[in-house]
Subunit: 202 residues, 2 copies
DNA sequence: CGGCCCGGAATGAATGTTCATTCCGGCACG
DNA sequence: CGTGCCGGAATGAACATTCATTCCGGGCCG
């Protein structure tokens, strides 16, 4: 069997061990950062031998990058759930923001991992994509804002600024919740996203 | 001369080399992260021998922590500049936010370093301080928000949430500017801070 | 004056440790 | 009996830190 994805195989062959390795890496990196996650420890936590990891991932960088891509897709999928294109813009925004924040709170490890990833040399590559205009990264959020500007509902500011206004607070508040500085219940989540909307609306 | 601060000396004796080491560490860590800043490289960049660093800093952790403290103080000082306690709350907020954002843009290395620091095991300690209610970390910002809540000018939300709403966007937009995704001029800075105020005001 | 000696700062090669990655004997399945 | 997956010990590179040695300035003695 050819483990490394062949030219026409489904992108990733299912494998119990592969999944265990990813899970272990996620846990360790989210909790202790890249420093506190040596391959040997990942192996132990995944219940496999150190060498086995290399049967599934060419090296640590690849492992880390694939884990990122997996989480990225997972979030994209989640935040599209229940999206209704015919509702007014404001409602779609609130729905999207709420979904995102809920996801972070429900999956703190995913959130912490993404933060680690972005603040690391790995993140640079991802940023380059953003320069090159690739849509996907939070693409829905971006689209929403563009639409708002076009409809004159949203302040007329550069997209990057609007993006920061809309999602900067969500990220920071999610971090605070996960670190235990606030307890966000459903009501607070809605208030928070509403306040973000207040910030960008005209 | 006693380099390590004596009991009644000013906290840090002035030293050409000490300053060079801190500058080199700041540059390297801000640009390449903690990974890309081995002591040997810091030494080269500072123009001193590797061993010399240890005459000024007990070890790498201490070096990193002292650099953080130095930047922290520098920012506190800056953001207090021109603060007028008798102006209305909104104006004080706008002044403070603008000053902060300007600082980040004028000192991108400081900003990047602080980001690295917070997303690292070192940051944990700092966070613990916040739990224990220590005022200083962005203490002025916090005070402003408390006052706003008391005066019923600002939304009645937990302080951590308000803090995120007010400063999350500033941090994110500063990052975007430094990475080249937006070009913030003076007008945009003011618009941005104003939008943050819109987010938290009642 | 000029040579000499000393204290302490500075140096950078040597050390020990921590990993990522590789390698190889063994084991299970066909 | 093969074949190919596994485990985990072995390897070597990258670092932080140490320490024996060098260097330097400035008092002291002849």
């Amino acid at each position: 069997m050819n483990i490394h994805s062949g030219p026409d195989e489904p992108k990733t062959v299912y494998s119990e061990k592969r999944a265990e390795i990813l899970r272990a890496a996620l846990e360790l990196i989210a909790e202790h950062g890249f420093h506190g996650a040596p391959m040997s420890t990942i192996a132990v936590r995944a219940g496999v031998g150190a060498g086995t990891i290399y049967r599934y991932f060419e090296n640590k960088d690849v492992l880390i990058k694939e884990l990122f891509l997996e989480l990225h897709e997972k979030i994209c999928a989640w935040s599209l759930k229940g999206y209704e294109a015919d509702k007014p813009l404001r409602q779609r925004f609130l729905h999207f923001g709420t979904a995102l924040l809920r996801y972070f709170i429900a999956n703190p490890r995913d959130f912490r991992y993404l933060e680690q990833y972005h603040n690391s040399p790995y993140g640079a590559e991802f940023r380059r994509d953003r320069i090159l205009g690739k849509e996907e990264s939070g693409g829905l959020g971006r689209g929403l804002l563009e639409e708002g500007v076009a409809q004159q509902i949203v302040k007329d500011l550069p997209l990057a600024v609007l993006f920061s206004l809309a999602f900067g607070p969500l990220v920071m508040v999610a971090r605070d919740h996960i670190l235990g500085f606030v307890e966000l219940d459903d009501f607070l989540i809605q208030q928070t996203v509403q306040a973000c909307w207040d910030g960008i609306k005209k």
